[in-house]
């Protein structure tokens, strides 16, 4: 049994498909590419593919991760080429590397921080995102109400935000870089940060792009190093 981890992009063309849609699309592409996929047992066997933290509907990314279990060894670069030939527009494998089967399953689940690049167009005059961002970071607590399908809950947004950097701002557009907690143990949505900075809502046109996923734990450091090496940093 071999395991290959892929970093892949979800672009504009497919930014509105849900995480479940994405998984189905990827797995169908793997079947079209005739990858030697390992399957789960039972009446409804599924390919043994695991994914890092789900990307929100409407966001793009070039930092998504998935781990594929294979029944026979395959050169990761060949896998990447073959899969890319079968992926719909907007999806692309950027890197693929082989790992021992036990490792990535845990480390993908441990991805608990993410970087976002946010581009905003709209009436930004007087909004002062830069000043508001530093005020936000100086506060001890930022209470917000998160509305879900099943009721709403109050939470403190502040500890879920590691960094806000306003790279560019003028009266009509701005670019922000965010580092946020993510993953199953609770995270911040970039839209919530924008709302807290007073630059959310329909008068703004917003493009949100996930540029990196991290694991902050000890095993995460190893993955980070590996990723950095692979990116040639």
């Amino acid at each position: 049994m071999q395991q290959v981890v892929c970093r892949f992009a979800k672009g504009d063309a497919v930014k509105y498909i849900s995480h479940l849609d994405l998984m189905r699309a990827l797995e169908r592409a793997m079947r079209r590419a005739r990858l030697p996929l390992a399957y789960s047992e039972g009446f409804n066997p599924r390919p043994r593919v695991s994914y890092a933290s789900a990307l929100s509907v409407g966001h793009t990314s070039d930092a998504e991760l998935m781990a594929l279990r294979l029944t026979s060894p395959m050169d990761p670069s060949e896998l990447r080429t073959r899969l890319n030939a079968c992926l719909p527009e907007g999806l692309a494998v950027l890197q693929a590397w082989a790992t021992p089967p036990h490792q990535p399953k845990t480390s993908l689940g441990e991805m608990d921080a993410a970087d976002y690049v946010v581009r905003i167009e709209g009436p930004l005059a007087g909004k002062e995102p830069c000043r508001r961002a530093s005020e936000f970071m100086e506060r001890e607590e930022v209470r917000i109400t998160r509305v879900r399908d099943k009721g709403s809950k109050d939470l403190d947004l502040r500890p879920l935000v590691s960094a806000i950097e306003v790279v560019r701002e003028n009266a009509s557009e701005a670019e922000l870089h965010l580092r946020l907690r993510t993953g199953s143990s609770g995270g911040a949505r970039p839209e919530e940060v924008l709302a807290a900075l007073g630059i959310g809502g329909r008068e703004f046109r917003t493009a949100i792009h996930r540029s990196a996923l991290y694991a902050s734990g000890s095993r995460g450091r190893a993955v980070r190093q590996r990723l950095r090496r692979l990116r040639g940093e």
């Binding site: 498909i17 079947r31 066997p45 409407g58 719909p88």
Partner: protein
């Protein structure tokens, strides 16, 4: 890739319904083709992308190098509100081209309860609603699908109806529609009326006598039929949706038509004759289709797939060939016999989902009247085989409100279900009987055009309600799940199914009152429809709950399904005779 809706998509549910870029979606430069065809399904994307007819026509048109077909679906309520607020028209998915810019707009009519969505599509496209108000500035609007069996309620709103099968006719219509912008509209309509299977309502004048329909002037239109199904084009590079659709799998149509002759069902007349694709063709299509799509399930489609003369060869080969790739095979329809149960035993997906049988009625008298050639013994043997082979769940379809039905006939349904349950519990034994599930799906009888029961009234709502209550009372037992119809919606379906052009105004009024997606229980607005009937001076009971005079003309007399009226009359007499015997 920008869509016309970029600014509103972040604010609607399931935005991927409106974005496309799916695998195998066809993207042709529209300015370099000679015929541009918009194929519209008047329901949500998830329902429309499960429709085989749409997939076939999309394939056939796009196979032609110089033609292009793109798709459009009904926007959900929130999307419609956003589109109207922003002043954005309904556009095709592929290139975001407004429907009004196509040469041909082809609308599928899968169900009577989609009619308000048809008007909504025309309106959102910015087209005048009525055919008489459209001219050379507009695309040719053609509708087709099973409701073409009696399209009269929509006759004023469409330019032409394709009556029958579209594989060949769609290309002839597309060719004609290239002239939509240059030729006089009346000349164009006369031209498309000459295409086999095409009916142009404006060229026909209905007559009335004392408020009753009294026949129509004009030549009879024979249903278009593809002679050789095995040689007919079939898509293997099927569009693979991102959004989960109702039938999310590779669909292979292995046969068309139904030879069973159930007297309530339109399939016998409206899809005749029975034709098969050969095992060799089916296996080739399966191989190409699975490779091209990556689907992990193949559905062998047909009204009675187990009736296919080579069904065992097809199923055995598919199961063996694709077991390693975990492809599951499904048969959407089952006959009530042990052969079908054994066949289903080979199919993993069916094993999980349960078996479906359609006895339709609780007594032999009614089953005989329906020509449902199945006895209680057949049903018990099939169910026994299923339980013994390890199934815990079966699903049963019944119709209530059949003509001549008594309380005893309805009680017999409950009795049948309870006895099947007893048998199931016995076979499954102490350990597994707790898992027994008998799903009982009850529908109200809807008289449909071109069937021997087209003249029969739908049962009155109060009577249907009583029968449902009776079933509910008797079937409140562990292991039985009863699902029943929305009765006002069934009544509307019956009225529209047998309606004439006067119902167009009812549909338009309902649409103006906000009716959309009437087939979805949560969207159906009974009061708005009642008001629409009243406003148009029509009585829904007159259309739905009245026995028609067999000697009088019906609004679909000029549409020939291939079954003579004499045959229908004879069959209707057999129904009456069988019911009288009770």
């Amino acid at each position: 890739m920008p869509t016309p809706w970029d600014d509103i998509l972040p604010y609607v549910t399931k935005p991927a319904r409106y974005t496309n870029r799916e695998w195998h979606a066809a993207h042709k430069p529209l300015d370099r083709v000679s015929a541009r065809v918009a194929l519209v399904f008047p329901d949500a994307y998830d329902a429309g992308m499960s429709h085989l007819g749409l997939r076939i026509l999309y394939h056939v048109v796009n196979e032609r190098e110089d033609y292009a077909a793109e798709r459009a679906f009904s926007p959900w309520g929130d999307m419609e509100a956003e589109m109207r607020a922003a002043g954005l028209p309904l556009c095709s998915l592929e290139s975001g081209t407004p429907l009004a810019d196509f040469d041909l707009v082809g609308i599928t009519l899968p169900y009577e309860l989609n009619y308000t969505n048809v008007l909504n599509v025309l309106d959102l496209a910015g087209l005048p609603l009525k055919s008489a108000e459209r001219d050379r500035r507009h695309p040719l609007v053609v509708a087709g699908g099973v409701c073409a069996a009696n399209p009269e309620p929509l006759a004023d709103y469409v330019d032409a109806i394709l009556w029958g099968e579209g594989e060949e006719a769609i290309l002839e219509l597309a060719e004609a529609a290239r002239e939509a912008r240059s030729s006089d509209r009346d000349a164009l309509l006369r031209h498309v009326a000459s295409i086999e299977g095409v009916y142009v309502p404006r060229l026909y004048q209905p007559r009335r006598d004392h408020g009753r329909f009294a026949g129509v002037e004009g030549a009879v239109v024979a249903r278009r039929v593809v002679a050789d199904l095995d040689a007919a084009p079939y898509p293997t590079r099927q569009v693979v949706p991102f959004v989960e659709t109702v039938h999310d799998r590779l669909t292979l149509e292995i046969m068309r038509g139904c030879g069973r002759g159930c007297r309530f069902c339109q399939a016998g007349a409206c899809y005749r004759p029975v034709r098969e694709r050969s095992a060799a063709t089916v296996l080739r299509l399966a191989e190409e289709g699975l490779r091209a799509t990556g689907y992990d399930e193949v559905s062998l489609l047909g009204f009675n797939s187990p009736d296919h003369s080579q069904i065992e060869e097809i199923v055995d080969t598919l199961v063996e060939r694709y077991a390693e790739e975990r492809v599951s095979i499904s048969l959407p329809s089952l006959r009530i016999d042990t052969f079908s149960v054994q066949l289903a035993g080979k199919l993993r997906r069916v094993r999980r989902a349960g078996l479906t049988f359609a006895p339709e009625a609780g007594t032999q008298r009614l089953r005989d009247a329906l020509n449902k050639q199945v006895t209680e013994d057949d049903l018990f043997q099939a169910a026994r085989a299923a339980f013994e082979a390890g199934w815990h769940g079966i699903k049963l379809y019944f119709i209530i409100g059949l003509p001549g039905e008594t309380a005893g006939d309805v009680e017999a349904i409950a009795d049948l279900v309870l006895r099947l349950r007893e048998m199931g519990r016995e076979i499954l034994g102490r350990e597994r009987r707790g898992r027994l599930r008998i799903a009982v799906s009850v529908n109200a009888f809807v008289p449909k055009p071109h069937t021997p029961m087209q003249w029969c009234a739908q049962d009155a709502p109060e009577s249907l309600q009583q029968k449902l209550s009776l079933l509910r009372g008797k079937l409140q037992v562990k292991g039985v799940q009863l699902s029943y119809p929305n009765l006002p919606a069934s009544r509307l379906e019956a009225a529209l199914a047998r309606g004439d052009r006067r119902l167009g105004e009812v549909i338009e009024r309902a649409w103006q009152a906000g009716c959309r997606f009437d087939a979805w229980d949560e969207h159906f607005k009974p009061q708005a429809w009642a008001d629409a009937f009243a406003g148009a001076g029509q009585d829904v009971a007159e259309w739905a709950n009245r026995d028609l005079d067999p000697a009088a003309p019906v609004p679909w007399d000029h549409l020939d399904a291939g079954v003579s009226k004499e045959t229908l009359h004879r069959q209707a007499e057999v129904v009456a005779g069988a019911l009288g015997a009770g």
